[in-house]
Amino acid sequence: MANKEKELTFEENLEKLEMIVKNLESGNIPLDDAIKNFNEATLLAKKCDEKLKNAEEQVNKIVNKDGTLEEFNVED
């Protein structure tokens, strides 16, 4: 995740998505923009979807007393 700078957060992506969809639903934008928006929204939805589906193994860490972070797994 760190290799991409200023990537929008999940929430920001979703907010953007919701905004575009609402905008499209209002029907107040020119056709060219509508097509552009539609493509963007479809991409955003896909991106959010993939981000969740392709989630790697959950990252859980623990802060040690010396302040270092370490992988943390709960023993069953």
């Binding site: 957060t9 998505l17 969809v21 509508a34 939805a45 969740l52 860490k61 709960v74």
Partner: protein, 421 residues
């Protein structure tokens, strides 16, 4: 002899009277353990209070029992206040409990109430101070014990619901005397990390176990923390102070995790709906624009391009007609003016002619009077000498040949004699 004997009832009544008289027995503070607890359907509690070697029956009527913030149970260590009296029906003495607190927490409870009031008055529980819990936290900090059910429940719930959330555990004691300062330290520590949300809590336990979450310093640390905090103290009935200060209170660690992250199932449903909405909106767009296009294509002008000229021509015609009308009216006007002038001049001419004619007649008349012919008709004659009209005898001499004109002819004559007058 028989007078010596009294009835059981009399004895009971006497004893009850004695008990009720006794000031000490009217205000008894008693501690022990609950045994044989029975909550009557009508709300009264019947139980036994015992210690290692003794027991006493106890009754707590609904009016008092209903004020308790906990449900008494067998084995619970309690402290009660009440009065001792005789229950005449059995002859047994018992304590009529008016107040009950759990032993060991009795003082704590007072402390709790005091602290709650104080912090409330300082505004620490103010709803307006609550921070918003993010909908999609990327990283969640957890302050709890690294072992035990709480952390396990939190992590497994997050994993099940929203696996892309990362967690950082800030291990802390959550019970015992050092728990509170450790929790405070970790709350402060956690703020050095890029966290969207903090869960602070522990699993269920006795009131004493949970007591660190009623600590003033913990409360203040939660209040001052700039990360939103969900409190998760596994104790469903009572609120801890931490619950009041936290931005959101969960009844259990699992509950906290559920409040912390969205459910991916809901999310997939949402994404699905968004896609449907998008398609619908787009279809609508296409449909709308197609209709607009059709309307334009079918418009009269596009279908009858010549009509543009026709329209222009018609316009031209109208203008031409207008121009014609205007010109015409100008011409008519001018003609009228001209005619008027002609009329005027004609009149004038006529009058002039008339006048001229009269004058002419007059002159003619005059001329007629002067006409020599007419004079000749009356018998006069004109005498000429070589075409000169002789008007005096001076102009002739004797023997001159003269011509004499009469009205119907002339004759010549010789002058014989000149007679002077």
């Amino acid at each position: 002899m028989e007078d010596k004997y009294i009835t059981v009832s009399q004895l009971s009544r006497y004893l009850k009277f004695k008990f009720d008289q006794d000031v000490n027995l009217n205000h008894v503070f008693l501690k022990g353990e609950i045994f044989n607890f029975k909550a009557h359907t009508r709300g009264h509690y019947y139980f036994t209070i015992k210690d290692e070697s003794s027991r006493i029956n106890a009754v707590m009527f609904y009016s008092q029992a209903s004020k308790l913030s906990f449900l008494p149970e067998d084995g619970m260590k309690i402290m009660v206040a009440g009065r001792i009296s005789i229950y005449e029906a059995t002859g047994g003495y018992q304590i009529y409990v008016e107040e009950m607190v759990q032993d060991g927490v009795g003082n704590l409870y007072l402390e709790y109430e005091k602290l709650k009031k104080k912090l409330a008055s300082e505004g620490l529980f103010d709803p307006s101070k609550k921070k918003k819990i993010p909908k999609f936290p990327e990283t969640i900090g957890i302050i709890t014990a690294p072992t035990g059910a709480a952390i396990k429940d939190i992590l497994s719930t997050i994993k099940r619901r929203w696996p892309i959330t990362k967690t950082i555990l800030f291990p802390s004691l959550v019970q015992g005397a050092s728990a509170a300062p450790e929790i405070v330290k970790q709350i402060q520590n956690a703020q050095k990390y890029p966290l969207d949300l903090l869960i602070v809590g522990r699993g269920g336990g006795s009131i004493e176990d949970l007591w660190c979450f009623n600590d003033e310093q913990v409360a203040r640390a939660i209040y001052e923390c700039d990360i939103p905090i969900i409190s998760a103290v596994g104790h469903e009935i009572d609120y801890t102070i931490a619950d009041f200060v936290a931005d959101l209170r969960a009844p259990t660690p699992t509950g906290a995790a559920e409040m912390a992250v969205p459910n991916q199932k809901d999310f997939y449903t949402y994404i699905h709906q968004v896609n449907l909405r998008l398609e619908k909106a787009m279809m609508h767009y296409i449909q709308n624009n197609r209709e607009r296009l059709e309307t334009l294509k079918n418009s009269y002008i596009l279908k009858n391009p010549l009509s543009i000229y026709q329209i222009k021509e018609q316009k031209f015609d109208t203008l031409y007609e207008k121009l014609y009308l205007v010109m015409n009216s100008i011409l008519i006007n001018e003609r009228n003016k001209l005619e008027e002038k002609i009329d005027k001049s004609k009149n004038w001419m006529e009058r002039y002619l008339e006048k001229s004619k009269n004058q002419y007649l007059y002159i003619l008349n005059k001329l007629e009077v002067l006409n020599p012919i007419l004079t000749l008709k009356r018998g006069y004659s004109i005498t000429k000498k070589q075409d000169d009209i002789i008007t005096s005898i001076q102009k002739i001499k004797k023997e001159d040949l003269v011509t004499i004109d009469l009205v119907d002819g002339s004759f010549t004559a010789n002058v014989e004699e000149i007679i002077k007058k």
